[in-house]
């Protein structure tokens, strides 16, 4: 029973193409995120949605468009892919409480742009 799942796990595509990555969580969390991890393993937040509403957008190029059809899903669509988009993309989810905002991550999607 995977808590946060992503598809596909690997994505290899040509520059200029448009691609989507899907994420689903079965934890009942209200908030979902997309992170990008570069080749040096640096993790940086891209977007966050709370109950289908965009709440964090970290100056990501507008070629990246997240979409949340419901609070259990957050998809990432990327237009006109560039070489620099090659990275591992992680989806995460959390339920904010007074104690904190522990984010649980999916297994990642390794995107390679040729």
């Amino acid at each position: 029973d995977t808590a946060v799942s992503q598809t596909p796990k690997y994505l290899v595509t040509q520059m200029g193409n448009d691609k989507s990555i899907k994420c689903e969580q079965n934890l009942g969390h209200d908030t979902m995120y997309w992170y990008k991890q570069d080749s040096k393993k640096f993790l940086k937040i891209m977007f966050s949605y709370n109950n289908k509403e965009l709440i964090i957008n970290e100056t990501v190029p507008n070629r990246f468009s997240p979409k949340s059809p419901d609070k259990a899903h957050l998809n990432l669509h990327i237009n006109s892919l560039e070489l620099g988009d090659s990275a591992v993309y992680f989806c995460a989810s959390s339920q904010v409480t007074q104690g904190g905002d522990t984010q649980y991550f999916g297994p990642g999607t390794r995107l390679t742009v040729l």
């Binding site: 640096f42 993790l43 937040i45 709440i55 964090i56 904190g100 905002d101 991550f105 990642g108």
Partner: protein, 116 residues
């Protein structure tokens, strides 16, 4: 063994020894801190967290220490096992009342290698 994050990105530890992974965080207003473990080919996995109103928290074989005065966070792993080999990240977040709530800022990561 000990690491100092960015300056010593790899920590080699003998099986059975205790590990200490250090992290210097940047924002004095950070209120919430998490340690994650990332194994090769997998996503970051939650280990333990701590709020800024605490200076120590213990879990199963792990302890997190927070020193707000010098903006330093450490993760101690007792009796390190081969399964502990991974990259460890510290992450910080601002208080709920700030713009940085929800935005986990990750450190650079420390590779821990457990040798038999």
């Amino acid at each position: 063994g000990e690491s100092v994050g960015l300056h010593l990105p790899t920590l080699s530890v003998q099986e059975g020894d205790n590990s200490i992974i250090n992290c210097a965080y940047s924002n004095s207003a950070s209120d919430y801190f998490i340690w994650y473990k990332q194994e090769s080919g997998k996503g970051p996995q939650f280990i333990i967290d701590i709020r800024s109103n605490m200076d120590k928290r213990q879990g199963q074989r792990v302890t997190v220490l927070l020193n707000k005065t010098v903006k330093h966070l450490s993760l101690q792993i007792a009796a390190t096992q081969p399964g502990d080999s991974a990259v460890y990240f510290c992450a910080e977040m601002g208080a709920m009342t700030t713009d940085s709530w929800g935005k986990l800022q990750f450190g650079a990561g420390t590779q821990v290698v457990v040798t038999p």
